[in-house]
């Protein structure tokens, strides 16, 4: 067994409206920044033990499938690092 940190990033699928991101973009513009587009995402850093980095990634992907992401509106990706 090894110890890993799996980082799951959950973001809205392209094309799904993100009103909070749009509000944030407008606020940045009010502060004088020029922003073409802004996307937001949720990141989960999960410390876990697994037989291998691949196994840790599979476990984290299942967490995303079953809870962290909603497949109707979200895409996600998983990165694994040894801890």
């Amino acid at each position: 067994m090894g110890t890993y940190t799996a980082t799951v990033t959950v973001r809205l699928k392209r094309g799904v409206l993100d009103p909070e991101a749009e509000t944030t973009r407008k606020a940045l513009e009010r502060l004088g920044f020029s922003v073409d587009a802004l996307r937001s995402a949720d990141r989960f850093e999960i410390d876990l033990e697994a037989d291998s980095a691949d196994a840790a990634g599979e476990e984290a992907a299942e967490m995303a499938e079953r809870l962290l992401a909603n497949p109707t509106i979200h895409d996600y990706d998983v990165e694994v690092e040894e801890r």
């Binding site: 799904v16 409206l17 009103p19 909070e20 749009e22 909603n70 109707t72």
Partner: protein, 224 residues
């Protein structure tokens, strides 16, 4: 019929639902989610509120609770289940109905009366209404925008599973009348089975005559 109104930490329309059902002569009781579904349950309301503080996504936590597994299994066997507002979010998150309810187009919490056009009057949830009837029902949500893939929305429409759409006072389904930016102006649908219904507007808030119009009674009478 005994209707169980499921209370989670953060539910806040649970007592309203019991009062509305009781007014219609329907036996209803509050059930704390950790106590499990009573054996005599013949119908379920998942009420509105902010279960688990809307952590992660509205409804995401409650949807993974044991009582919702039980409700899902009983729904497969025909148990009538109505998810209202946060209850609708829970039912979709639990896979009892397709799609997802997410952040309003306005990015704001909206508490207002809206008009709904009744689309399909062949369900227990809507057979007290006329086809195309316009009813006035309040909404109170920040995450009520119905999202679904285009092909799955087409399937819902082909199968006549849309119950209500946001419309104007004359029943025109327009973008301006789309309270929260929902796909197809959809405000309520039936789930994978017709005994499951989910809707963001609150029929229980327009049921008691003492507090105004009673356009929501027809939905709750499905339990009668």
């Amino acid at each position: 019929m005994t209707v169980s109104v499921i209370r989670f930490g953060g539910s806040n329309c649970d007592r309203d639902a019991v009062a509305a059902l009781s007014h219609l002569g329907i036996d209803a009781e509050l059930v704390w989610h950790e106590d499990g579904l009573p054996a005599e349950t013949e119908g379920v309301v998942l009420p509105g509120g902010f279960s688990y503080g809307d952590y992660l996504r509205a409804g995401a936590m409650a949807a993974r609770s044991p009582i919702v597994d039980e409700i899902g299994a009983r729904a497969e066997a025909g148990l009538p289940v109505l998810g209202i507002c946060n209850g609708a979010q829970i039912a979709c998150e639990a896979g009892m109905a397709p799609g997802a309810f997410t952040t309003n187009r306005s990015a704001r919490f909206q508490c207002e009366h809206v008009y709904l056009r009744v689309e399909n009057v062949e369900t227990a949830w809507t057979d007290r209404y006329e086809a195309g009837e316009v009813i006035e029902v309040p909404i109170a949500h920040g995450e009520g925008r119905f999202e679904i893939e285009d092909d799955r929305l087409a399937d819902l429409e082909d199968d006549d599973r849309v119950l209500f759409r946001y419309c104007d006072a004359d029943g025109n389904v327009t973008d301006a009348a789309n309270a929260n930016g929902s796909k197809g102006n959809v405000a309520g649908i039936v789930g994978e089975r017709p005994n499951v219904a989910v809707m963001m507007p609150h029929p229980e808030r327009v049921t008691l005559p003492d507090i105004g119009p009673t356009d929501g009674q027809g939905v709750l009478r499905a339990f009668a």
